[in-house]
């Protein structure tokens, strides 16, 4: 997609999402994920740090974009906003990795196999899920991995849909906080 086309499409999706259009929001996030993957990979190649897991950075950035989407104004372009958030998150990750690099050698995790990043799966999220409480973890699993709608997830937990929404939002904020505090 041309940058100007992409910008127009993103802005349309952002406005629709603000109006509660879940489908538009999903398309936006998927398109953002692709964009971020390319951007993060390029950035890491340029500074010569290839073995950082790109997909984890993409996922952390998507979560930040989601939790901070009210900071975008409908009259502003989306791209600079996305790029600024992405830049901030990349810096956070590099800072954390820098700290980790000082750890003794036997604590450094095993290098990932080459195909792991191509699977578009991250590792941090699964590890951090383990630090959530039982109910929050169950909600996240129901909605993300098992693909339940809010209503069916609420039913299977025996809570109201409203309570589920609140709990889901809190879980996402908790995940973002864990990430910020230094990852899993």
């Amino acid at each position: 997609m041309e940058p100007s086309e992409r910008e127009t499409q993103w802005a349309l999706w952002m406005r629709a999402a603000a109006g509660g259009d879940e489908l538009a929001y999903r398309s936006l996030l998927a398109s953002l994920a692709q964009f971020l993957r390319r951007a993060v990979r390029q950035r890491f190649t340029r500074i010569g740090c290839g073995n950082v897991d790109v997909e984890d950075v993409v996922q952390e950035t998507l979560l930040a974009i989601h939790l901070k989407r009210h900071t975008w104004r409908s009259t502003d372009p989306v791209t600079p906003w996305v790029v600024a958030i992405s830049r901030n998150k990349t810096i956070d990750v590099l800072r954390r990795r820098g700290r980790r690099a000082e750890l003794p050698l036997d604590e450094v995790p095993e290098p990932e196999s080459a195909d792991a990043t191509d699977e578009a799966a991250g590792h941090d999220l699964a590890l951090m899920l383990g630090t959530l409480d039982e109910r929050q973890r169950r909600i996240v699993q129901l909605v993300s991995i098992e693909g339940h709608s809010s209503r069916s997830a609420a039913e299977s937990l025996g809570i109201s849909e409203g309570a589920l929404r609140v709990a889901l939002h809190r879980s996402l904020k908790a995940l973002a906080a864990r990430w910020r505090e230094g990852g899993a």
């Binding site: 996922q59 009210h70 502003d76 958030i85 799966a121």
Partner: protein
């Protein structure tokens, strides 16, 4: 977790929070009220206010502080949003110290050197250094708490701007009380007081505004 699973998860969360501008306004209105009440009850305007209004140095002192407050608020609203353009507000903020330096120059030419220090020292400089930071406390804390809901790309810088905004508000009020109008006094004590509040904002911002 796969990224498309995360996308699905995020799309289900429809909670949309208040824009940074609104939460900042909602926090600053009560905080501004606290500051204004504190000023009215504990400090008060100077008794010769009607006469002082006709003095150019008094008017300039109040206007410069009000301009600082306005420009810092404008910049703060932009710093709260990632990628937002700061154009337009930086020149407005920079105009404040430029005008102050020009005024200091005029004052230095106007009065003989043996009076410089008397004018700069004024009559209650330590009171100025205490009252401005004290009055700035409520708006600074309110602004920082509200900004936690935003996404500043530079937490320390944004905290400093919240400090400058609060100092501008506090100093605008304090200027109505303060009997010292010489730019030499303003350039020394008001600047020092604003620097204290700005530094406090930067320190707190670096801790509280990360996201």
């Amino acid at each position: 977790m796969k990224t498309d699973q995360l996308v699905q998860l995020l799309a289900r969360d429809t909670t949309l929070r208040q824009s940074p501008g609104r939460s900042l306004l909602a926090a600053l209105l009560p905080a501004g009220f606290v500051t204004a009440t504190g000023f009215a009850l504990l400090v008060g305007v100077r008794p010769d206010l009607p006469a002082a209004l006709r003095s150019p140095w008094f008017d300039l002192k109040v206007l410069l502080n009000a301009a600082l407050w306005l420009a810092a608020t404008g910049l703060l609203l932009r710093l709260a949003r990632p990628g937002a353009s700061l154009r337009g507000w930086w020149p407005a903020l920079c105009a404040v110290p430029i005008v102050l330096v020009l005024a200091i120059g005029v004052e230095l030419l106007r009065v003989p050197p043996d009076q410089w220090w008397t004018l700069a020292q004024g009559s209650n400089s330590t009171w100025c250094l205490r009252v401005i930071p004290a009055l700035a406390g409520a708006p600074l804390l309110a602004a920082l708490l509200a900004l936690r809901n935003s996404a500043p790309a530079h937490p320390a810088r944004t905290g400093a701007m919240a400090g400058l905004m609060s100092a501008g508000l506090a100093a605008t009020l304090y200027a109505l009380h303060c009997p010292d109008d010489s730019p030499l006094f303003v350039g020394l004590w008001y600047v020092l007081a604003a620097a204290i509040v700005t530094a406090a904002g930067a320190l707190l911002g670096a801790r509280w505004l990360r996201w």
